[in-house]
């Protein structure tokens, strides 16, 4: 067992020890960082990151409102320790089934649905200040990477090149801490929102022609994808570009990759990549590439979300982004990245991206 694992195991035991001693004398409780939301996060403009304003909450066994969650957290902690000792990793769903049973006397289930155990796992992360992957609990793989990059799984010893796994690329696990990057032959990283576009670009041999590492976020980027982007940028010094739909949801995907999410704001420094740049779709693209006829009308929900985003401090202070949002609101339109297919299937790979990427200084950031 490596030093880090021993350290984490010790941390879990200390957490348990403190509670045990408080049962002897005092008030059994533990402290955790309050989960990030707009109220509890702050924007650090110098680092261009969302950071948690550290505020702490407590769970107390003798507070009837807390008793259940208090107990659940201990259950998860016990399982985490077991996983680390046995060097096994469990999925979120497996954790739920491992711990689910009926508690006698009160006749209640330990967990009624996976949502409940997921949220307690997050509580434990914020109690121990360790991400769940380090306590051997992982989410499903989400997102893919394709390109000339060679990786190795440290614990299994396997090696692979992400351009030789077929058109699907390599599925990114929720933790990449065990993955070593052995070799990269690329000039930049391009993150796209949708799988369809990921496959289009592979079919058009875009990664080979432009020496690109291609990543599909598949919607909001998972922790694993965000960590991979972060490492490619800071460990391997590759510029990173993000390409999403031209709507508030796409822009927020970009924002999370760049500045971190509110929920995981306590891990922003590990997960966020502040100097990524935004390729498109922008509202200006609609005019420049004459795409007006393939735009979609904004829904009320879209408009509400745009107005929310405009108020986020990191967007609020940025005139270029405000201009995009306002344009969206004025014209009442949004545009999908797939809409470029209206020109031709190869248009995105042959014209749009090369044009945009040839002039990185003009990109939004």
């Amino acid at each position: 067992m490596d030093a880090e694992k021993i350290e984490i195991k010790k941390k879990i035991e200390e957490f348990a020890r403190k509670i045990y001693e408080e049962f002897e004398k005092g008030n059994p409780s533990f402290k955790f960082i309050i989960r990030g939301n707009l109220k509890y996060v702050e924007y650090d403009p110098t680092k261009d990151l969302i950071k948690l304003k550290k505020s702490y909450g407590y769970r107390e066994f003798f507070n009837l409102g807390h008793t259940r969650k208090f107990t659940q957290t201990i259950l998860i902690a016990a399982l985490a320790k077991k996983l680390i000792s046995e060097n096994r990793t469990a999925s979120l769903r497996e954790v739920f089934y491992q711990l689910r049973h009926t508690i006698p006397i009160i006749n209640e289930d330990t967990f009624y649905e996976q949502k409940e155990s997921d949220s307690v796992i997050e509580d434990l992360e914020r109690t121990l200040n360790i991400i769940r992957e380090k306590i051997h609990i992982k989410a499903d793989r989400r997102g893919y990477v394709y390109g000339n990059i060679t990786m190795r799984d440290r614990s299994r010893g396997d090696e692979w090149n992400c351009s030789k796994l077929g058109m699907g690329g390599w599925g990114v696990p929720s933790t990449i801490e065990e993955i070593e990057i052995l070799d990269i032959n690329a000039d930049f990283v391009l993150v796209v929102e949708k799988d369809a576009l990921f496959e289009r670009l592979i079919e058009e041999r875009f990664p080979e022609k432009h020496k690109a590492i291609l990543i599909s976020a598949k919607g909001q980027a998972s922790r694993g994808v965000r960590r991979l982007i972060h490492r490619l940028r800071y460990e391997h010094n590759l510029p990173v570009y993000v390409f999403t739909d031209g709507d508030p949801w796409g822009y927020y995907i970009y924002s999370v990759i760049k500045r971190g999410s509110m929920k995981l704001s306590h891990f922003s420094e590990l997960l966020a990549t502040p100097d990524v740049k935004f390729v498109g779709m922008t509202m200006d693209d609609v005019d420049e590439y004459d795409l007006k006829r393939v735009t979609i009308k904004l829904t009320a929900r879209d408009e509400k979300r745009i107005k929310e985003l405009m108020e986020y401090p990191w967007f609020k202070k940025n005139r270029n982004w405000q201009r995009q949002f306002n344009k969206m609101l004025n014209k009442k339109i949004k545009i999908e990245q797939d809409a470029l297919a209206a020109k031709s299937l190869e248009f995105v790979a042959e014209k749009y991206l090369p044009e945009k990427l040839s002039n990185p200084d003009r990109l939004l950031s």
């Binding site: 348990a16 020890r17 045990y20 049962f23 009837l64 201990i74 016990a78 320790k81 009160i106 330990t110």
Partner: protein, 579 residues
């Protein structure tokens, strides 16, 4: 709003001047509160009792008041009110009980109850109108050997006393006054009854001992629970509060022959500059003799006076009940499960300072929701719908404070009492039964009531959690056993040793909660006080039956635990204070 409207006052006054006093009174009974037989009884008792309390207060005597109502026939009642006050100067008796004066009896500015009254002579008149019998007054001053007894009627033609009998008698009392009247009226129980008025008067006057026998022969004794006579600070009247009748009497009775001096010396807040300004507007020269003004001049001057800019009367002249007295009184009368009170800081309405005092009492002998209203320590029983106090409370969402409402009605056993004290209170009408709902006053009441309700809410929450205390231990035990296993795994120690610790700690928590039960549930305290320890134990055990069912401990263990806590309470004499 007559107090507010000099015009309306003047109209009334003119009318009053024109007709004979008896005629006026017969036609305008409602103005003085005699609008029904039921109310006539209440008004008479109220007038006499308020006068007694005022007299004692001014003489700095702790009042002993005796009230008895005897049913003489179906609708004729004999009312007797007796006090231990300073007595009345003998030569003044006929004038006080036998001449009808308009406006306040004493043109003095002070938080007395009498200011809200109609004058004792109104009862004399009502008595002679309904039963043709005189009022009987026995009074004794401390420096006289003998008391004097009068039987008095009013000569309605010229508003002078008609003394039917006057004789010295011996009375085994140091001093005091006893008044007897025979009036046509009706006795009822419940809301707006004399019984209620007496109870609420006792509540507002913890320094008084009141004995009351109602027509059914039931005797109520309200003990003295405070030995402090409230202090009345007298102040010259504020020109905005004066009634025109009183104003005329002030003019007639003044020793000053110069109107400017009269204004400056007899009123609060009028200086040289203001006096000159008032006189200029009233068209009077400053050396006019105030005693010789014509009726029109009086009327004009009165109107100008109401408009004059005069600073507010300072709050030190306001007589409040005080937080402690309110709590003590509510506790004495209702033995509630929860009681608290709050006195707001003085506020100002139209140049007059006023203070709002609020009390709440929950449970105990209270069996329904009730709002109790006071103006200068006099209970208000009528016209609650138009009163600022009722309006303010109705504006509060009582549900937010943990109270149960069904169809808009509060279902909790709760009393909210509100007292407005001021040297001048704006009433909605001359009968002085409701306080005018001005926004400044409503606001003050609302803030005061909300404050005490917040405290009540904490109590109610605690009560609720005590009621479900068995459930609490079931939960703690269930989860405690569950986590023991995992905590054992985490620390690589046996599950049973963790369990032992957890159970021990839960038992400690239980000890604290049993203490809370004793502190929080009156019934348990009563049982312990009365030495019924077994019943108290059974009561607590019933609340905690889940503890035994879930095997946190056996019945014997629980009993031993309860016994220990009770013993601790007895040793520390924690329950003594309540006796």
């Amino acid at each position: 709003m007559s107090d507010d409207n000099p015009k309306e006052y003047t109209e009334l006054y003119k009318k009053f001047k024109r007709v004979s006093i008896a005629e006026f009174f017969e036609k305008n009974r409602h103005l003085l509160g005699f609008d029904s037989l039921r109310k006539a009884l209440l008004i008479s008792v109220k007038e006499l009792v308020d006068n007694s309390l005022d007299a004692c207060e001014e003489a700095r005597v702790l009042p002993d008041i005796y009230v008895e109502i005897i049913r003489m026939s179906k609708d004729v009642f004999k009312v007797v009110v007796e006090d231990n006050g300073p007595g009345i100067p003998y030569e003044k008796v006929p004038e006080i009980y036998g001449s009808f004066l308009f406006g306040t009896k004493f043109h003095r500015y002070v938080c007395t109850r009498g200011k809200q009254g109609i004058g004792a002579s109104a009862i004399t008149l009502y008595s002679q109108l309904t039963t043709r019998r005189p009022i009987e007054v026995i009074t004794k001053t401390p420096d006289s050997d003998k008391a004097i007894k009068h039987k008095i009627k009013i000569n309605v033609k010229d508003n002078t006393p008609l003394v039917e009998e006057r004789k010295y008698i011996s009375w085994n009392k140091k001093s005091g006054t006893s008044v007897t009247v025979y009036i046509k009226s009706q006795y009822v129980k419940g809301r707006q009854s004399v019984d209620e008025y007496i109870e609420l008067t006792a509540l507002a006057n913890p320094h008084a001992r009141i004995t009351y026998i109602n027509p059914d022969g039931e005797m109520f004794e309200y003990k003295r629970i405070s030995n402090i006579v409230p202090e009345l600070k007298e102040i010259r009247p504020h020109p905005h509060g004066i009634e025109i009748g009183s104003f005329e009497r002030m003019l007639k009775d003044t020793k000053y022959s110069n109107i400017k001096r009269f204004l400056m010396k007899e009123f609060y807040g009028i200086g040289n500059k203001t006096a000159l300004e008032i006189l200029r507007k009233a068209g009077l020269s400053e050396d006019t003799d105030p005693r010789k003004l014509s009726f029109d001049e009086i009327e004009k001057l009165y109107e100008v006076l109401q408009e004059a800019k005069v600073k507010a009367i300072p709050s030190k002249y306001i007589t409040t009940m005080g937080k402690d007295n309110i709590i003590r009184s509510l506790t004495y009368l209702y033995d509630p499960d929860f009681v608290t009170a709050y006195v707001r800081r003085p506020a100002v309405y139209k140049g007059n300072s006023f203070i709002v005092e609020v009390g709440v009492a929950y449970g105990g002998r209270i069996d329904e929701f009730k709002i109790i209203r006071y103006a200068n320590r006099v209970p208000l029983l009528y016209k609650s719908g138009e009163c600022a106090i009722t309006n303010a409370i109705e504006g509060i969402n009582l549900k937010n404070y943990g109270l149960t409402l069904e169809e808009g009605k509060v279902k909790d056993p709760l009393i909210i009492m509100v007292h407005i004290a001021s040297v001048w209170i704006p009433f909605t009408s001359e009968s002085k039964e409701a306080i005018a709902p001005y926004p400044e006053i409503i606001r003050e009441i609302e803030l005061g009531v909300k404050k005490v309700l917040r405290e009540l809410e904490i109590f109610l929450n605690k009560k609720k959690s005590l009621e479900s205390i068995g459930e609490k231990y079931k939960t703690l035990y269930g989860y405690g056993m569950e986590l023991s296993k995992y905590l054992g795994d985490l620390l690589e120690i046996s599950e049973s040793s963790v369990r032992e610790k957890v159970i021990k700690r839960i038992r400690e928590e239980l000890t604290t909660d049993i203490e809370e039960i004793i502190k929080g549930i009156r019934e348990v305290r009563r049982l312990i006080r009365e030495g019924k320890i077994d019943s108290a134990k059974a009561f607590i055990r019933k609340l905690l039956k889940d503890v035994i069912e879930t095997k946190v401990m056996s019945k014997e263990e629980l009993d031993a635990l309860i016994e220990n806590v009770i013993k601790k309470f007895e040793e520390k004499k924690l329950l003594e204070i309540e006796k």
